[in-house]
Symmetry: C2
Subunit: 345 residues, 2 copies
């Protein structure tokens, strides 16, 4: 077995010789294709087991499938994404597909490079989580490889989408805070540089949903948005700006939990208490929002469900590339915790 280190890998030819059949026959058995008798299948399977054969993904890729699906995640440090990923892998557990993650895609250019590299590796399908590329580029990519886009409110002609109803999510937060008696409710947003994406990005829609909800409550005059980033650092900077206002907001709605955490840092640093001096709400309901020391009010968008749906759609599209594109839209729910309460003043 483990003799003399390096040995040429066992190939389909070896299996064929060992089972005394043709390579074609082995290939057919491997793919459960038509034209194999039970007896032959048995022999081939035995030979495979005895030799410890494993198909070369490289060779397969050159001919057709790779049985590999790629998932692009924009920021692996954001604890929301592991949840989505868990949904994806769970959904694919009993398939032949292997999921590979392409990390670190900050910005449109890096993202394009990452997507290219997944295409170069001829993955059978890709899931793009919260991509920042213009829609035309997404369409282009989807023309090359089956694609599911998570978190973009766009109707792709050839790609499927899974997204949360961010307008409703933002409204949930504002309604909740207004219900508690807040009026000066500020929002920490994530800006969008690419003009063609503005209406599609969740961050922009959350901001717009916030505006709408504020107006609906007759609080148009209180609308106050700081645009930083959906990162811990961004939340920190955003909160610092808000705390420096002549009249401080009584509540902060951060567009993402990770930004809310930064905001909580800034508030603690300023010597203020939550929710005594200021209420804070986030978005994503990440595991850390549920954490006892944090107990952050947040919007739950069922990350695992999103991931599972994305995987399901991707398999469907791989099965039929001409399939009509579908858009799954999930409804968020509000999870009320300890960081929001009635304003003191």
């Amino acid at each position: 077995m483990t003799r003399s280190a390096q040995r040429r890998r066992v190939t389909i030819v070896d299996v064929a010789r060992h089972a005394q059949v043709s390579t074609t026959a082995v290939s057919k058995v491997l793919r459960n294709a038509y034209g194999t008798s039970p007896a032959m299948r048995e022999r081939v399977h035995q030979a495979i087991a005895e030799l410890g054969y494993r198909p070369s993904a490289a060779a397969r890729a050159l001919r057709g499938q790779t049985y590999t699906l790629g998932v692009m995640v924009p920021d692996i440090a954001n604890p929301f994404f592991p949840e989505v990923l868990a949904g994806v892998t769970e959904q694919l557990r009993d398939t032949d597909y292997q999921v590979l993650l392409a990390p670190g895609c900050a910005g449109e250019q890096a993202e394009a490079k990452t997507i290219e590299s997944m295409i170069d590796r001829s993955m059978d399908g890709i899931i793009l989580i919260a991509p920042v590329s213009p829609r035309a580029h997404l369409e282009h990519v989807a023309g090359i490889v089956p694609t599911v886009v998570v978190g973009r409110h766009a109707r792709g002609t050839i790609f499927d989408t899974v997204a949360d109803d961010d307008t409703a999510g933002a409204a949930l937060v504002v309604d909740h805070l207004v219900g508690l008696g807040h009026r000066r409710i500020a929002h920490i947003a994530h800006p969008e540089t690419e003009p063609s994406c503005i209406e599609e990005m969740p961050n922009m829609i959350r901001a717009e949903g916030y505006r709408q909800a504020m107006r609906r409550h007759g609080l148009a005059g209180e609308i106050d948005i700081v645009s930083t980033r959906y990162t811990r650092e961004g939340g920190y900077r955003g909160a610092r700006q808000l705390l420096a206002r002549p009249v401080r907001p009584t509540a902060v709605f951060a567009g993402a939990d990770i930004a809310a955490m930064g905001a909580l840092d800034a508030i603690a640093e300023a010597g203020l208490s939550v929710p005594g001096d200021i209420s804070v709400a986030g978005y994503d309901n990440t595991p850390f929002a549920a954490f006892s020391q944090v107990s952050l009010t947040s919007v739950d968008q069922a990350g695992a469900q999103i991931g599972a749906d994305a995987a399901r759609l991707l398999l469907a599209r791989i099965g039929d590339r001409a399939r009509r594109s579908s858009q799954v839209k999930l409804s968020p729910t509000l999870v009320t915790r300890a960081t929001t309460a009635a304003p003191s003043s």
Copy 2:
């Protein structure tokens, strides 16, 4: 450009025809191999640019390299691993290599399957973070593909390792707590089922380091270990057990921050205060330990540095597979925060 959807991908043959040279010539230019004149290089590069050619990783894989490196992470929800990963990608930023992550490897069997799939995809090298496979299996894998193992205290004959000095790390925590006046210091550990790994796994070494340090302080009688898991759930269960002791410990040293978070949950649930009633320390110094609402005393093991070293070693091994194996051992430091203080009683 974006005409009529699907088109056959541009290959090296198309480039060769367009540049009026042979495919061999194009291949040489692509790999900056010997035997190309500046004039030819220029022409080929121009043709590549005009046609938008990208090499097929699949075809390359069949011949040799894939320019792909695989990283296996055991638990993507643990915020320590993104840091290691950041170190890896940063180190590889200016190389031709693409990093792909293989997620979700709970348990030895799933891990083996994941590693196999990376080998099947003929990755040029792999980094295994905190693998649980027996050493013999790691050696076997390393015989097939260049491998760097992170977090195992094993001297591989053909794989390199990067690890933190976990004995020292555990001692830092115990020394700190003893210095504050604690005596009843308990430890939450992660068990090891595979006997051949017991001496190599960081979790076991942290536990042993804890024991040694306790004995050194004359506290052998106070040694108290609960063995659950390095997860939030594991920390929670571990702390529940400890809080049910007839005589409660005054301090808990969790072997990982993620477990410490679970412990904090359990302590909060029991209506106890930290550090008033009980001190808590973790390990890894994840971003969430630094978070204001948590402010967890923790051992910093420089995740990014670990990742960068692993990537560096991997490149070196890919360059020379016969290279002597090297072991990098990093020294941890203690970051003292608000969850540890002198015991009240």
